[in-house]
């Protein structure tokens, strides 16, 4: 299995599209941090205005930790798109290129081949999330300075001390990887079904868009199924920044996303084992 996995990593990193995700995160985080360094104080003023006269604050709220927290909102749309670029091509790309004819005529079962591709997809997904974490926290703290994380949301106000915040970021990014793996699994399933990578990418983003819309529109008619949409659980990473952490809600999201991922992967394996290689 290790050899198969190494093969998939070599194949993936021989394509320029694999580097788009890393490049986009690098450029995006640098530009975002530069923007925060220029406009962070105005955001801080707006934030404090909302609090009125009830709080006296000292120090710099618009610090690297806070900027990193805001950048995690890219996990709703932007990071999923970058993940589909590789996950959509990992199986379909071989169909397009015709390379299944030399790869699948080897003494290796299709189950093992697909497992290695899934592991490579998971590795890529983890790398993208890890790069976002390292760049935003590392660059953010270096450029904007460090400090406590000041979070204002519908739950209220939460101030996390710097050292506790680091642990919460670690948990949040772990949740983020788990969530993004569901996106990767969906794209992976589409990639098994077709021989062109564009379809899985567009299909996944279309589903995320529609499901996301259904998630945020608060109508009684949607209430009965909203909790079961996988995009409803894209907020899993945010639970790491609550105090106390709502572990029941965490488990609910973990179960929902786990079931989605398992289903997508199971169907992908069934289809791939039966797939006729005609290209």
């Amino acid at each position: 299995m290790w050899h198969l996995f190494v093969n998939e990593i070599i194949k993936a990193f021989s394509k320029w599209r694999t580097y788009i995700g890393f490049g986009a995160i690098g450029v995006g985080v640098i530009l975002a941090m530069w923007g925060f360094s220029i406009g962070g104080s105005s955001i801080q003023r707006d934030l404090l205005r909302r609090l009125g006269d009830e709080f006296i604050t000292t120090g710099n709220l618009a610090n690297g930790m806070w900027a990193s927290y805001l950048l995690m909102n890219t996990l709703f749309i932007h990071i999923p798109f970058l993940i589909t670029l590789m996950a959509g091509d990992v199986v379909a790309g071989e169909g397009t290129a015709g390379t299944f004819r030399i790869y699948l005529t080897r003494p290796v079962s299709r189950t093992r081949v697909l497992t290695s591709k899934l592991l490579a997809t998971a590795t890529y997904t983890g790398s993208i999330v890890l790069l976002l974490a390292i760049l935003s926290l590392g660059l953010g703290n270096w450029w904007l300075g460090t400090g406590d994380v000041f979070i204002v949301d519908e739950q209220g106000i939460l101030i996390l001390p710097w050292d506790l915040a680091l642990a919460r970021f670690a948990l949040a990014y772990l949740f983020a990887f788990y969530t993004m793996f569901t996106v990767a699994a969906l794209t992976f399933l589409f990639s098994v079904m077709v021989t062109n990578a564009i379809g899985p990418i567009v299909g996944t983003m279309a589903i995320i868009t529609v499901s996301g819309l259904l998630t945020i529109i608060q109508l009684d008619a949607f209430a009965w199924f909203q909790q079961h949409l996988f995009t409803t659980h894209f907020v899993l990473w945010q639970y790491a920044f609550r105090d106390p952490i709502p572990w029941e809600q965490v488990m609910d999201s973990v179960i929902h996303l786990g079931l989605y991922s398992a289903s997508f992967v199971a169907v992908a394996f069934v289809l791939f084992r039966r797939k006729n290689v005609l290209t």
Partner: protein
């Protein structure tokens, strides 16, 4: 496919022929487990193609259709990638097969810089990596120029004679099968029509195409066109080709001599195309199956 039962002896170069749509590529893809049978069963080396393909594929090397590789990787990296899927195949073997197909000088060049002929040779190289007992080649000379075709055919002969490999060659080029195959089978609409040694289908007694070298050639042509049992008289490169049944050939010689035509040679041309035309009844296709 319908009740296809082929016996290929070890060490043979076996030609697999049939018109377009006859099921040649389908058969090969089924054997290599690239496509699944809709019903029924098939076995290769006595093992089921549905469940036991990882086992028998250890003994099979294949080139199906055109040779497609990971274009951004070098030839050597492509082969090393495939070698990892076999036990006991190392980088030295990858370099060896590149040498066998004449690509060792271009081992480190990316495959996207290769010509079509080089890709086909690399395709044969990847099929040889694990020293298979059976080499399956599906139209290996497709798209090659005459020089390239000659080189590939030479390689096939070498693998069979020197490496002791059994070669299963699917082709619609009749002269290719005639030149290099020892046995063959003909497929049509998924069914096996005939199979056996190639010599069996090249018997001089059954051939009707005849070549005449004579002088003056115009007079010879006039004589032939006047004979009721002679048809399709054509002149090519100073010789006449025509069709006549075996038993009428002496009458042709007598008729020419009576008209003072000097005969230098009167030779039956044993061509596989003749046999196929009798099977499928199609007009002359220039050496290819329809």
């Amino acid at each position: 496919m319908n009740q296809l039962d082929l016996e290929v002896k070890e060490g043979e170069i076996f030609g697999f022929l049939g018109p377009n749509g006859s099921g040649k590529t389908t058969t090969i893809r089924l054997l290599l487990s690239l496509i699944r049978p809709t019903e029924g069963s098939a076995r290769l080396f006595g093992q089921s193609i549905r469940r036991e393909y990882p086992r028998y594929l250890r003994q099979v090397g294949a080139l199906v259709d055109e040779a497609d590789f990971y274009l951004n990787l070098s030839a050597l990296t492509n082969l090393k990638l495939l070698a990892r899927l076999h036990k006991g195949v190392d980088e030295a073997r990858c370099r060896e097969v590149l040498r066998l197909v004449g690509l060792e000088e271009r081992a480190h060049d990316r495959v996207k810089t290769y010509s079509h002929g080089m890709c086909q040779r690399l395709g044969i190289a990847q099929a040889l990596l694990h020293r298979p007992r059976l080499l399956i080649l599906d139209e290996p000379t497709t798209g090659l120029d005459p020089q390239g075709m000659h080189e590939v055919r030479q390689m096939i002969r070498r693998f069979a004679h020197e490496e002791g490999m059994t070669i299963f060659l699917s082709s619609h080029l009749l002269n290719e099968v005639e030149q290099i195959c020892t046995s063959m089978a003909v497929l049509n609409e998924g069914k096996l029509l005939v199979s056996g040694p190639v010599e069996q289908f090249l018997s001089a007694e059954t051939a009707t195409l005849t070549e005449l070298q004579a002088d003056p050639i115009s007079a010879a042509r006039t004589v032939l066109e006047g004979l009721p049992f002679v048809s399709q008289v054509e002149e090519q490169n100073g010789r006449l080709h025509f069709r006549v049944d075996h038993q009428h050939r002496p009458k042709v010689a007598r008729a020419l001599t009576e008209q003072a035509v000097e005969i230098y040679s009167l030779t039956p041309v044993s061509r596989l195309e003749d046999y196929f035309l009798s099977l499928f009844g199609s007009p002359d296709t220039g050496g290819e199956l329809p």
